[in-house]
Assembly symmetry: C3
Homo-oligomer: 139 residues x 3
């Protein structure tokens, strides 16, 4: 595989992360991580694919989520890679009869590893630069 | 062409869709679809490039639009392909003297076909997970 | 290098622009431009990497920025290229004790040149279709 193909595979991995989360497909989500993977963010730290899948299932309290994946810069180093991935994550919910959207402005700090022939997430840290919580319709 | 080149061509097709719509270049928009293409979304269904171009020209009621294309996951199958493309579409308008922006959170469900040597959109369904309509300046 | 590799390099250049700005790494930002580069936008015009880096350092008045880079369409022409790049830029700040986010909806009109073996930005014009300024938490 060329460098370009490796980077494309890592980018696709990131897209599958978003798709699995937004579709609440947690078995498929778990499959994207290495056995010793870690997912950390503001106030949480999850170790291993099962704990990550269970932890992310907390998003079920939202009526829907959308993880919009933006630019990704990756440095390849053999069967490992590090990178930064920009994302805005939308969380839809209702409060006091008002439909609202909570947005997270994220820069994922990622470490990837090629494990059993396939790129996986070995470590993902959510750097959340801002959150914004507004009604869906405002005056 | 390699798989990577096909995927890049399909991604570029998606970018041209956004560019044509946002520039109100409807002849160029029509040229991105197969003759039997279908575009469907909440409350609308358009068949064929001409009907799609005419239908999309309804966006002319907005002072501007921006279609921000985000991640795309595509499965190639010879001269056909299916995929999901994330997008946030901004629609600018004025109401009661207030400038407002209506956003759509979209996951396009796409079918692409290679027709006359060029990838085109054969079917695009807009799954709209949320809309948000807020003033451009709020207290 | 193949066309695909050139386009990937230009896309990575665009990602590095965002990363350098958001990390306030202005020497690294300056290094992304050709010696005669120009950056223009609403009410500003900066000539040369040093002036651009100094001008962009005005973003220091915001507590944070995030430049979310979206789709990019590039036309290659030997050691030059032109393109359009969509972006939403977030600017975080506080006013009267309220945390706010100012968003810019940008379509960069770009000219790139390969200089000393590396793609750089030769001209970048910010077309800002909309700005939106809202509190981080609203009723």
């Amino acid at each position: 595989m060329s460098d370009l193909e490796h980077k494309q595979a890592i980018h696709a991995l990131t897209c599958r992360y978003a798709q699995a989360v937004d579709r609440r497909d947690f078995p498929r989500l778990a499959d994207l991580f290495t056995p010793d993977a870690r997912l950390t963010g503001p106030g949480f730290c999850m170790d291993g694919p099962q704990a990550i899948a269970e932890g992310m299932s907390a998003l079920g309290k939202y009526s829907a989520t959308q993880h919009h994946m933006h630019q990704q810069l990756v440095e390849l180093d053999g069967d490992a890679a590090t990178g930064e991935t920009y994302c805005v994550a939308n969380h839809l919910y209702e409060q006091d009869g008002v439909q609202r959207k909570l947005d997270w402005g994220i820069r994922y700090q990622d470490r990837f590893e090629r494990w059993q022939g396939r790129w996986r997430i070995a470590a993902r840290e959510l750097v959340v630069d801002w959150t914004q919580d507004l009604p869906l319709r405002g005056a």
